[in-house]
């Protein structure tokens, strides 16, 4: 009795929320009951005002969440191998997935209809797709007005940030993660963050070799090819890398490092939705202004 079980769980959650003295989460009030396997989808649904009732790898999601998932959200286990029993217990009306998880799609489909998109494909800019997803998902959720509303809000925010970032448009930005003191992973033009840069009127310095996809590990020395760029380090730095960089002759000799054009951003989610793109944009502008 799947339906009955889902109903009783919902009732139980409502009761739990009532006991906790909090407002009911939006999902219990109206609309479809969602379960998200993919984080980009989860963020998009949250941006539309329809937070999923259940989420894969909830613990990790909270770690770098733009907006924390509502109280009472259920953990579904690993994204690549969600717990099907937990998923059945949630009794979702719709499962949000992506092409990363196409291998498990048939099993998800046996539990509920699956809404899936190929958002992150090498050499195809992700930003427009993620932006369009807002409207597509809103349509599917039966709330078509929410899509354009969220899109307009995001575009307005990017426009505001573009105004603040205009003073820094003279130089292109090189976005990368540090692996160790000798290797970096660069965000190419097909990455979400690169799309966010463009939405702010800035440029990605890494235009060559998009065949490297959006995050190829490359040796640190590649940075020497971009003497004019601003270096933007995304994410936490491993302690050994921090120590190693400080004493590395090559790093210290890079013109951007000498000129103090290095900016550090907190841990961000590169394979996510528009909320993460906006968060990146805010953090970047703040980091740029901090240096100015």
């Amino acid at each position: 009795m799947v339906g009955a079980c889902g109903f009783s769980r919902r009732a139980f959650l409502a009761a739990a929320c009532a006991v906790a003295g909090r407002a009911l989460p939006a999902f219990a009030a109206d609309g479809l009951r969602l379960a998200a396997v993919d984080w980009a989808m989860a963020e998009t649904a949250m941006a539309l005002g329809h937070p999923p009732a259940a989420l894969a790898e909830l613990i990790g999601f909270r770690d770098a969440a733009v907006e924390p998932p509502p109280q009472g959200t259920i953990d579904l286990g690993l994204r690549g191998a969600p717990n099907l029993e937990a998923l059945s217990l949630v009794a979702p009306d719709l499962i949000l997935s992506s092409s990363y998880y196409s291998a498990i799609q048939p099993r998800l489909e046996r539990i509920a209809p699956v809404f899936t998109r190929a958002l992150y494909v090498a050499d195809e800019p992700a930003f427009p797709k993620v932006m369009a997803l807002l409207a597509e998902l809103a349509q599917r959720l039966g709330d078509p007005a929410a899509g354009p509303r969220a899109q307009a809000a995001a575009q307005a925010e990017f426009a505001t940030l573009a105004g603040r970032a205009a003073g820094f448009a003279d130089r292109a930005c090189l976005l990368f993660e540090l692996g160790d003191s000798r290797h970096i992973r660069v965000f190419g033009t097909d990455s979400l963050f690169s799309g966010a840069l463009e939405a702010m009127g800035l440029r990605n310095a890494w235009t060559a070799r998009t065949s490297f996809a959006f995050a190829a590990p490359v040796p640190l020395e590649k940075l020497a090819e971009y003497p004019e760029a601003r270096l933007v380090i995304v994410g936490r730095m491993p302690p050994q890398a921090e120590r190693g960089l400080g004493s590395a002759a090559l790093w210290n000799s890079l013109p951007p490092v000498k000129a103090g054009r290095v900016h550090r951003l907190p841990e961000l989610r590169p394979f996510a939705g528009i909320p993460s793109a906006l968060r990146f944009a805010h953090e970047l502008v703040a980091a740029l202004e901090g240096r100015a």
């Binding site: 690993l78 692996g179 590990p217 013109p255």
Partner: protein
């Protein structure tokens, strides 16, 4: 002549390095000594603090690996010993992965202490196993490879549990030589010079030892401290390389082989020539990749390339082993006790399987804690759980049956499906499918995986067809294929993006993601395997007695062996395809069966089959419930349940 070859190698390595160096700067613009960083251009710094230390480090690390390999081969009298085949490198890898994830502060002072502890522990384990079998080369190599597999399985599971793609680990696993200053080369040089001196001092006692224990005792040599000191030196060198540049496989295997083929007769000559050969091998490999990158190609990790060389090298070394290795020391165990009523034991095992299956079908863990499934949930849950349980048990039975065949066939108690290379081939097939086809569906993945497994099997069968097949060599050929596959896999993981994450998830193994049809097919295959095992009982009875006995009894030896290899390979491939390359069930179950006293072919095979199913049922239950709702890797659980047992059994049986 020999000097010519070495000189030619050196010239080539230098030429390759120069291609990369000249693409950075023309010689006229090279920095002049003394270097002052403040006055140098970025290009000059790239050369002076990037490419130059990289070239020097390749030489030094190659020399260290060559020396480590030569020392290990000398002390174990085993031409297959090297830091990769003895599990030393994988032990260091596991330690570094664990420290990176759980105690990053330990790495603040560099990777060396952590790597050394891991390398020492893994080598110690292999040596403890090997000592019980008087360090027979093939057995020690297989023990080393198994310890290595276990360490990598644990490292994979830890990386997965972190739930987060650690770039530093990926680069390190690939064996990355890129440098940004001279510190790596300085450390390596400081370690290598005393190590060379120590090796020169050890050469004479080691040579005396090679005369045999009696002769050594007669000359007043104490063997244990000598062996220990030599191994310690080799492990320290290997850990040093692991700590500086990561996993670089097979240089330690290649260098002494090259030294021998260049005519190094005495041990001292070999110990001194092997570092030279190792330095050249690693420099050539790294130079090739540098030149490739300078020509606009992708920058690949060096360790992946040396791994590619390693597989074929092992195969090339096999026919040359005969002269140097006393084969009789590879003999398996003597028969232990025999159960008086094997039928009752088997019936008991079958009943235990059924009971456990029913228990785990209804019992488990949900959001409200432990308990039995409430009746209203049966309709939803029973099909899900039954599928997973059926798939796990069938995969366990298939792997265990395959292990039983291999152990009978080779009369080697260390034989296991992982060692056949089929698992490696299947993993590679899966990885290639994930990378090549965007959003590949389950059918596509199954096809790719089985194609990979079939290719590895075909390679193995081709090797097995040769007339002079000795079972031990078959295992080594399988290991070579496996090594090749894992090298390519390492390169894929190091040079690609998030799809590597999908591969990593599959490598850990999962039963809960199998479709009902797949589980049913797997169960059918497992039953077919059981029937085939009973049908082949006579062969399996005769084969462990040796080739001569078999021939005398009129057994068509070549065909029987080929048929059994194919059977074991197919069983392994099928299990791997659906639940991932689960480790150790195929090795453990036959050992447990033997320890229970199931000695004759039919009870042994059937017992292994049942025990395999039982072990995987336990593993699947643990993986499903231990950290609900997160499904833990099935392979990890199987490894954790079985490995301690296995080591206890291996240690105990032979001491009797």
């Amino acid at each position: 002549m020999n000097r010519m070859i070495l000189a030619a190698g050196a010239v080539m390595a230098l030429a390759l390095w120069s291609i990369a160096a000249l693409s950075v700067l023309p010689p006229a613009a090279w920095p002049t000594l003394p270097w002052r960083v403040d006055e140098m251009t970025v290009q000059q710094i790239l050369l002076a603090y990037g490419l130059m230390p990289r070239g020097v480090l390749a030489l030094l690390a190659g020399a260290a690996l060559g020396l480590a390999g030569a020392l290990m081969q000398a002390v174990l009298r085993n031409p297959l010993a090297d830091p990769t085949t003895l599990g030393t490198a994988s032990g260091a890898q596991l330690a570094i992965v664990a420290a990176t994830i759980f105690a990053p502060d330990w790495l603040l002072r560099g990777n060396l202490p952590v790597a050394l502890a891991g390398a020492g522990a893994a080598t110690g384990l292999v040596m403890a196993l090997g000592a019980r079998r008087s360090f027979a080369p093939v057995t020690v190599t297989i023990a080393g490879m198994l310890v290595g597999l276990m360490a990598s399985a644990l490292a994979t599971a830890m990386t997965l549990a972190q739930g987060h793609y650690l770039l530093s680990l990926v680069m390190w696993n690939g064996g990355a030589l890129a440098q940004v200053d001279w510190s790596g080369s300085r450390h390596m040089a400081l370690a290598l010079v005393p190590a060379l001196l120590a090796a020169a001092a050890l050469a004479r006692p080691l040579m005396v030892m090679s005369l045999g224990p009696e002769g050594a005792h007669g000359l007043g040599l104490r063997l244990a401290p000598l062996r220990f000191a030599t191994l310690l030196l080799a492990v320290a060198l290997s850990a040093m390389v692991s700590a500086e540049i990561g996993l670089v496989g097979f240089v330690g295997l290649a260098a002494p082989a090259i030294a021998r083929s260049l005519g190094a007769r005495t041990l001292l000559q070999r110990l001194m020539l092997a570092p030279v050969a190792g330095a050249l091998v690693l420099s050539l490999a790294d130079g090739l990749l540098l030149a490739l990158a300078a020509a606009g190609g992708p920058s690949l990790p060096t360790g992946a390339l040396t791994g590619l060389i390693g597989g074929p090298l092992l195969i090339w070394l096999l026919p040359r082993m005969k002269a140097q290795v006393p084969q009789q020391t590879e003999a398996g165990d003597r028969r232990g006790h025999r159960a008086a009523y094997p039928e009752r034991l088997l019936a008991g095992l079958g009943a235990a399987c059924l009971a456990l299956a029913v228990l785990t079908l209804f019992g488990g863990r949900g959001p409200d804690g432990w308990g039995f499934m409430p009746p209203e949930l049966r309709e939803t849950f029973l099909p899900l759980r039954a599928t997973a349980i059926l798939a796990a048990a069938s995969a366990g039975a298939l792997l265990a049956g395959s292990g039983a065949i291999l152990q009978r066939l080779t009369a080697n108690p260390m034989a296991a499906p992982e060692v056949l290379g089929v698992t490696g081939g299947a993993s590679l097939g899966y990885a290639v499918t994930v990378i090549a086809v965007d959003g590949a569906g389950p059918l596509m993945l199954a096809l790719g995986t089985s194609a990979g497994g079939a290719l590895a099997l075909a390679g193995l069968a081709g090797f097995a067809m040769r007339a002079d097949l000795s079972p031990a060599r078959l295992l080594l050929a399988g290991l070579a294929i496996g090594a090749l596959a894992s090298a390519v896999l390492g390169a894929i993981m190091a040079s690609d993006d998030r799809r590597a994450w999908v591969i990593l998830g599959w490598l850990a193994g999962s039963a809960s993601q199998v479709a009902p049809l797949g589980a049913a097919a797997l169960a059918g295959l497992a039953l077919a395997l059981l029937a085939a095992l009973v049908g082949a009982a006579r062969w399996l009875e005769i084969l462990p007695l040796g080739g001569e006995v078999g021939r005398a009894l009129g057994l068509p030896l070549a065909q029987v062996r080929l048929g059994l290899i194919l059977l074991a390979g197919l069983a392994t491939g099928a299990a791997t395809m659906l639940v991932g390359p689960v480790s150790f069930v195929g090795l453990m179950a036959p050992h447990l069966a033997r320890a229970m006293g199931l000695a004759r072919a039919v009870p042994f095979c059937a017992g292994s089959w049942l025990l395999g199913a039982l072990l995987m049922l336990l593993a699947a239950f643990g993986a499903r419930t231990a950290s609900y709702p997160y499904d833990l890797p099935l392979g990890l659980f199987a490894t954790l349940i079985g490995t301690p047992w296995l080591f206890i059994l291996l240690m105990k049986r032979t001491s009797a």
